[in-house]
């Protein structure tokens, strides 16, 4: 007990004095881990940074055995890229991305709803079917698709890409959104049905607001995949419907030095999605942690 009294007297001091070192210790570990995180983050980002840097170089500066960080920046490469007419490609990419994502949501939300909250018989088979359509290598079906699209006169038409991207993203979207729907408490639906709400109003007024972060995350992922898709785009478009990745590939030549200009084109092609991703990353994490699990 003597000890107790002793401590008691020093209590305030001890409290202050002892917490400091511990906090320091903990924060020291945190600082180290923070430093590691920074290093890794920079390492991951560096190639992209270099790409952007290169896009402001002359071709000769881009090709040096000792990488050049200091150089005379030039907008020449961007001028070159813009003079190649990036506009229509950008518009096409936007159309393909926005509309395909919209269609994915329009088709996918009810489907995910049907296979989760109001499960139909053979739910698993349906889900499996959706997922299995993603197993088909696009390269194997590109010729049939080309033939079909040609038959119906839809070659080099941006809506062809919209439809294909919708088909490409739909299975994943259904699959992801299903897990979000599963997070919605069943009683809410029951309550809504007791309150006299018809199905579609339940969906619109009750369920969708709840899972909106999840839907947003799904949409963002669809946007990323649609924007970056290359194979369909390069094979099914010509002068009218080319998208940004196709535009980018146009800068690859088998003759000559092209890396600086290619960097400029690549930067331009990737920029919209990078910005979208940066802006929306919080929502993405939030959305993914919302469901994705159950």
């Amino acid at each position: 007990m003597a000890v107790t009294t002793d401590t008691e007297e020093r209590a305030p001091e001890t409290a202050g004095g002892a917490t400091e070192p511990r906090r320091q210790k903990r924060s020291a570990a945190n600082v180290w881990l923070g430093v590691i995180a920074w290093i890794v983050g920079i390492a991951f980002f560096f190639p992209v940074f270099w790409m952007v840097l290169t896009s402001f170089k002359q071709e000769t500066d881009a090709y040096t055995t000792t990488p050049k960080i200091i150089f005379e920046p030039t907008l020449e490469q961007y001028e070159g890229v813009f003079s190649a007419g990036v506009g229509p490609y950008l518009v096409n990419s936007v159309i393909a991305t926005v509309f395909s994502t919209l269609f994915v949501l329009l088709l996918g939300i009810p489907a995910a709803f049907a296979v989760s909250l109001r499960p139909v018989k053979k739910t698993q088979d349906v889900l499996f079917f959706f997922i299995s359509t993603k197993m088909l290598p696009v390269v194997a079906v590109i010729v049939p698709i080309y033939v079909v699209v040609n038959q119906i006169g839809m070659l080099d038409n941006i809506w062809t890409l919209v439809i294909l991207y919708t088909g490409m993203n739909l299975p994943i979207a259904v699959w992801m959104m299903r897990s979000f729907f599963l997070e919605v408490p069943g009683e809410l639906l029951e309550q809504a049905s007791i309150d006299g709400a018809p199905l579609w109003r339940t969906l619109r007024e009750i369920v969708l607001p709840i899972i909106s972060p999840g839907i947003f995350a799904t949409a963002l992922i669809c946007v990323i995949f649609a924007w970056n898709e290359f194979f369909f785009a390069v094979n099914l478009t010509a002068a009218n419907a080319g998208t940004m990745p196709v535009f980018l590939v146009g800068f690859i030549t088998s003759e000559g030095l092209y890396w600086a200009q290619l960097s400029a084109a690549a930067t331009l092609a990737a920029l919209p999605v990078i910005i979208a991703g940066w802006v929306a990353q919080n929502k993405l994490v939030q959305g993914l942690s919302f469901g994705a699990v159950k």
């Binding site: 002359q58 071709e59 000769t60 090709y63 040096t64 055995t65 003079s83 190649a84 229509p88 010729v143 080309y146 033939v147 040609n150 006169g153 839809m154 070659l155 080099d156 038409n157 390069v234 094979n235 010509a238 002068a239 009218n240 080319g242 196709v246 590939v249 146009g250 800068f251 690859i252 030549t253 088998s254 003759e255 000559g256 030095l257 092209y258």
Partner: protein, 431 residues
């Protein structure tokens, strides 16, 4: 369909011509001059689809073969043209040429013209043509006290390469393509095989890839590039070698004659002005340069053949070369070479290109696509076998060669496997 008739800018009475083009520098120059054409021809609007060589070839072939009809003008090569003409996919251009005063069909370099003809009629017109030659650094040769012969042989080149090689991580002796692809490693290698006396098939379409001549040639090529060649050889193509040579990393480079424009351009190359040129090295044949040309044709499906021809004739005309040469953004070093003999008579061109221009012309004129090697062959083509299966066959073989260059397999293994592929293809011609 909606092909060609673009959503953008198809005003009343205006025809939109869609052009599929390979995105090489000269073609990009042409695109940059296209507005002038449109100004001169108010009824025609141009839409370019410019893709890198691989995509362009795959896409154009698929489109033309299935009658996709997206394009009114396609850029093809002397590999495709006769075949496609035979298939009836391309439009016979003779009537159009005849109907275009001043176009001067006879001005095209004869070998080039022949390579784009089927049954005597041209089905595509050359934009530029190329052969192959050897580039070397005059300054380094001088330093090392080596004298480049007027017609070098491959063993000599190998020896020079060894002498100029400074070892790993430093300047290497020679750059040779090693990247898989029938248009990549196979192009220079085929010329080596040819001049070593090898061939793909004998006249009975029996595959010859394991014959001693081919074996020696491939072994020589692989040894040379592995011992004294550039780093990353198995992934080097034209562009990579251009970079290496342009940055002074290698002393010699055997490749397409079109490289001259790149390596002599001071904005891209640090060695401009210090380069010497020699004809393609030989062994058993008198010459060994290849023959390749990018040319323009009109698919049969195009409903706008007249407009298409108007554009093509503009782009392949003498005037175009004058126009490009006088353009400050392009200049005489970058005019499309190897299509017209008259180009080589232009004083300005002679002035900037006298180091290599005569060699190119000579290479093109001597290229022999009918009889590329010592022994007779049942096919045409120097650096390719002009049969439809060759793209696939050549690529597969090139992958084996590339693997051998990377050191993953031996030359024998590579050729063994290649022989299998070649036999399968050959069999379908024996019947």
């Amino acid at each position: 369909g909606c092909s060609g008739a673009g959503a953008l800018g198809s005003a009343e009475g205006v025809e939109t011509v869609t052009v599929a083009i390979v995105s090489n520098p000269q073609m990009e120059d042409a695109i940059s001059l296209a507005p002038e054409f449109e100004r001169e021809n108010p009824g025609i609007r141009l839409r370019f689809v410019s893709l890198s060589e691989n995509e362009a070839r795959a896409k154009i072939t698929a489109s033309v073969a299935t009658g996709g009809g997206e394009f009114d003008v396609v850029m093809v090569s002397n590999y495709e043209t006769p075949q496609w003409a035979q298939n009836g996919w391309l439009t016979n251009l003779e009537p159009y040429m005849a109907g275009t005063p001043g176009y001067d069909r006879a001005d095209f370099i004869p070998t080039v013209r022949d390579s784009l003809s089927f049954q005597g009629a041209m089905y595509s017109v050359p934009f530029y043509g190329e052969s192959s030659f050897l580039m070397y650094r005059k300054d380094l040769f001088e330093q090392a006290g080596i004298q480049m012969p007027a017609q070098p042989t491959w063993p000599q080149i190998a020896e020079f390469a060894a002498r100029l090689d400074q070892g790993e991580g430093r300047q290497r002796g020679i750059c040779l393509r090693g990247k898989p692809g029938w248009g990549e490693v196979m192009a220079p290698l085929d010329t080596v095989i040819n001049t070593f006396g090898g061939r793909w098939y004998d006249p009975q379409w029996r595959a010859q890839l394991t014959s001693p001549e081919v074996r020696n040639a491939v072994q020589f090529y692989v040894d040379l590039v592995r011992q004294h060649g550039q780093p990353g050889a198995s992934q080097s193509g034209f562009s990579e070698c251009a970079t290496q040579f342009g940055q002074g990393q290698v002393a010699m480079w055997y490749d397409a004659t079109s490289a001259a424009g790149t390596v002599e351009d001071p904005t891209e190359s640090t060695v401009a002005g210090r380069i010497g040129y020699a004809p393609a090295p030989v062994v058993a044949t008198p010459s060994s340069g290849w023959l390749y040309t990018w040319s323009l044709g009109i698919p049969q499906t195009s409903p706008r053949k007249d407009a298409a021809w108007r554009f093509m004739s503009w782009m392949t005309s003498k005037q175009y070369i004058q126009r490009a040469g006088n353009d400050p953004g392009i200049g005489w070093t970058s005019v499309p070479p190897g299509s017209r003999q008259s180009t080589y008579q232009i004083p300005q061109y002679q002035q900037v290109a006298n180091a290599y221009a005569p060699l190119i012309l000579q290479g093109l004129q001597r290229a022999n696509q009918e009889q590329p090697t010592v022994q007779p062959v049942p096919y045409q083509g120097v650096q390719f076998v002009r049969i439809p299966e060759f793209q696939d066959l050549g690529t597969r073989v090139s992958q084996q060669i590339s693997a051998a260059i990377a050191g993953q397999i031996t030359v024998d293994e590579a050729l063994e496997q290649s022989q299998n592929y070649a036999e399968t293809v050959g069999e379908s011609y024996q019947r």
